[in-house]
Subunit: 340 residues, 2 copies
């Protein structure tokens, strides 16, 4: 299996990306296609003594880097020579099985939707994010690909989440809930009311509404929402966790007694922080496009890149694309029959 | 000043409400109108030796209690004899200056909007919630009164928040931001794009978009959003904080060493928990209605009731209603001029 890696996406690129690729080759037995300025890639490999055994790595040269502040759609023309654009074209052209990038989220959505193209019948591709929780992680989808959504889109997010959770995360009959402001089916705005009905007809284990107060506990496997709310929620969990840890830390450094106590529990608290740190769960899948696309966290280190590559591998191995195609076709056919 | 208190709203009613009222009389020098089953109220006062000095308390009899699971609009007819409905009618009839209730949020919005009535020119009343943060609390509005909002409504929320933050919370020239998925003015859906423009023209210190990752730090005084997103955000902060404290606690009880360390820092962590506990900041104002309405937290204890009464007092004293009326009239006039 060949995973295409945008070597110049993310805060720690290209070094962390290339090191993560080498780890992935060693531990996961995949082949890697590094995309980016080949001279720089070779220099980083040499300087850091990174080892790729023979026939495990190739480079596709792409001289430019996609800047995070560029308009996502500029990927298609103005920024067509960036590592991100060239990587997506390589995926569309069959030069690899899946793609991993820690670059611009918006541009990855554009690359997936317009270069790799959608799965037939999918209205809008969406980004899922695995969020750590005490009862095990859960997937929030859409976490930002579509700021405005229609009910049919949310229902499809439910179908796609369910397939991914089952085939990549190993959840049996994953429970899928709609994020809402109350548990009753009369809650929310027009989008939630209609989405609730459609999700109830989808070929998934739909368990109704989930309130955001309960969500962080990990009470369901998948939470479906529009990309605006999903993005707000994801960043709010991050922001609240960061703020809380900062406050706890301040208390621990308050005086000498607390500092001594802190020495004892430090390791456990770091463990907790690491558990709540979203980068640990790997990358975010862009579901609904015709090939496996994984968005790695912007501040990914080598291990996070390796984890994202592992996710891309499982994604590909377990034919998530085939299963989504089949379930979406089934769901759409039933919806059409009902209308007829 | 006379504050009307729904004695039967909230999980700990009527005892906590009545005790909070007695504390408020003693500490804040207000008069209280308790609304609810007068026999039960008198029994609770007697059993618990609660003391109201002469001429500081009166009772309006209302035999029924509004059940949290009832439809909010049932307040008007089916549930017109509940303490909540009678309290709102007393406020509308001038039997007191302001109202405090820990009852159903939806019914309080109905009571404010349809019994007390809106301020002229206000499109929709909205609920603000003061959320604790390291840099000082901030107000999130709307936190759930309107699941669907138009841009003009969000702009008015900004105007009303600004007045409240200034006059009740004592913030000079309070900074108001729009909750969005990015800081650039091109971010978000149609609602955010248009609201951004309108907020920029409002007579407030509008500082642009704020991302939910930054919001928990308390970087601005007020955050404006639609009631769906606001409700999701509020409950997500609560849910994430609760989950985090639970996880920290589990680590502290992991073994004997941690437990000893925990003894040292316990007090500080409780302090932190109490700081993050939304009930500490008092009640949530319903802004845009013609009289002061404060929604106390459902699980309010006596101190929380007293704090909510204090907020109602400052709300009334500082003529928030008059200032909102003036600012909304000014804002609407400018918007009309621009269209003409």
């Amino acid at each position: 299996m060949k995973i295409i890696l945008d070597a110049f996406g993310g805060d720690n690129a290209p070094k962390a990306a290339i090191e993560g690729a080498a780890l992935a080759v060693k531990e996961l037995g995949v082949q890697i296609v590094l995309v980016g300025d080949s001279e720089k890639i070779n220099a980083v490999i040499k300087e850091n003594n990174i080892v790729f055994p023979e026939n495990t790595m190739e480079i596709i040269d792409a001289p430019e880097v996609f800047d995070m502040h560029e308009e996502p759609t500029s990927l298609l023309k103005k920024n067509a020579n960036t590592s991100l654009a060239v990587a997506f074209k390589a995926l569309a052209g069959g030069q690899g099985d899946a793609i991993v990038s820690a670059g611009s989220t918006g541009a990855i959505v554009v690359g997936g939707t317009l270069i790799v193209k959608r799965i037939k019948g999918v209205k809008r591709p969406a980004l899922g994010s695995m969020i750590p929780a005490p009862k095990g992680s859960y997937m929030l989808m859409d976490m930002g690909a579509n700021a405005e959504c229609r009910p049919e889109m949310l229902a499809q997010f439910g179908v796609m989440s369910s397939v991914y959770l089952n085939r990549v995360m190993g959840r049996e009959n994953p429970s899928i809930a709609l994020l809402n402001i109350g548990t009753e089916d009369t809650k929310g705005g027009a989008l939630q009311l209609e989405s609730y009905k459609l999700l109830g007809k989808a070929p998934i284990n739909f368990v109704g509404n989930v309130e955001s107060r309960e969500m962080p506990k990990g009470v369901v496997d998948g939470v479906v929402t529009d990309g605006f709310t999903g993005n707000i929620a994801l960043k709010l969990i991050e922001g609240t966790s960061i703020t809380m840890f900062k406050l706890v830390k301040e208390k621990l450094y308050k005086n000498i007694f607390n500092m001594l106590a802190a020495l004892v529990i430090k390791k456990d608290l770091y463990e907790l922080k690491s558990m709540m740190d979203a980068t640990e769960v790997g990358g975010a899948p862009l579901l609904g496009v015709a090939k496996p696309v994984i968005k790695a966290h912007g501040n990914s280190n080598a291990v996070a890149f390796k984890n994202a590559i592992r996710q891309a591998k499982i994604f590909t191995e377990n034919d998530v694309i085939g299963a989504i195609s089949a379930d979406i076709a089934k769901f759409n056919a039933e919806a059409e029959n009902e209308q007829a």
